[in-house]
């Protein structure tokens, strides 16, 4: 199954956020609890951790690039060989949690 990873809803006044670092490359597998990506708001670092085992399949916003809350960050899947959909509209969200560092 394919899952999307979006920028979480952060604080009310967070505008654009910057992707600081991806903790893996496309094709890498994550265990539940592993850090996938770090974002930087105007005042804090936001760590996004996997809430389920997954394989990172697509990075939509690379390190140093900017995005807003709710925007797609990337795609994951249960196994590395699942075909990615052409249309991501119906794709469900990856279980994930974020922590303000």
């Amino acid at each position: 199954m394919i899952y999307k990873l979006d920028v979480p809803e952060l604080s009310e006044d967070a505008g654009e956020v910057r992707v600081l670092e991806w903790h893996g490359e496309v094709g890498d597998a994550f265990e539940a609890g592993a850090m996938i990506v770090e974002l930087e708001t105007h005042k804090a670092i936001v760590e996004i951790r996997a809430g389920q085992p997954a394989v990172l399949r697509k990075i939509a916003v690379g390190a140093g690039e900017w995005c807003v809350s709710g925007a797609p960050l990337g795609l994951c899947s249960d196994s590395a060989d699942e075909e990615l959909p052409a249309d991501e509209a119906g794709v469900g969200a990856l279980l994930a949690r974020f922590e303000i560092a």
Binding site: D13, A14, G15, E16, R18, T41, H42, K43, W66
Partner: protein
Amino acid sequence: MPNEKIFYREGIARALHEAMAADERVFVMGQDVGAFGGAYREFDGLHAAFGPERVRDMPVAEAAMVGIGLGAAAAGMRPVVSVTYMDFLMLALDPLVNYGAKLRFKTAGKLTAPLVVITTAGAKGQGVAHSQCIEAWLMGVPGLKVVAPATPDDAYGLMRAALAADGPVVYVAHKKLFPMAGACGAGDVPMGAANIIRAGRDVTITAHSYMTRIALAAADNLSVEGISCEIVDIRSLRPLDVGLVAASVARTGALVTLEEGQLACGVGGEIAARVREALGPLPVQRIGARAAPVSSNPVLERACIPDAARVAAETRRFILNDATSRWRAG
């Protein structure tokens, strides 16, 4: 990196970092400016790069910090003093106004005080004594310079200009601008140069700092109705770029001044008078805070501070009712 997108706070930190690397006389003092990186992270990375001697955490003692800064400046250093909230700059007005701003005059130019005081103005839910915009108080002090950047690019460029100036500069950041990201051209922004940030035909709206965002939003609303607003970001309050504002008003035929601070003896009143002196009679409308303290109650805070709807409504009423405006005549 030219035109790299950065946060507003990074414009400040970048200019400071470059100046500290280039000139060992530059140092920073203030509350939480050290390892913490500043209340808004505007000093991020400086402590790690330059150490505690040059990035000095200080007790909550504004008068002492500015006084020490001035003494160091007079002795040849180039200090940057952070007063976290502009409200508490009041405690440091004696050293700043009575000594710093006057030093060059009192010594016939033998001494200067190249001090930058960086502070934050504006309402963001913090109540009566952490929300004020008192930059207009400072505009009447000969010898003082006052800048108020509204974008990451100007945050960088005006900090560079402030660090290069030969007299005290008050650098007014705004709490609501810190989340803003934007391109930084890594160029100089001269002090005393306003900037047209939206071209228009029917009315000139002046604003500085966060109120430029409100002016732009109001102009969007009014453009739907066919009212075309030219927005001037004042950027530098003293010296004031009267020439650019007057040239804009000469084209549009009407002036609205917008500020977050109080209207009485405010930024707008000064701009209106100076433009009137340059152009002759002109239709003018001031918009600013209600004559009340800014409450920590969010409803009352919003009621006090101009928002886009109020700016659009007051500009619309002004344009449509003022018989001398070009809009009316045309």
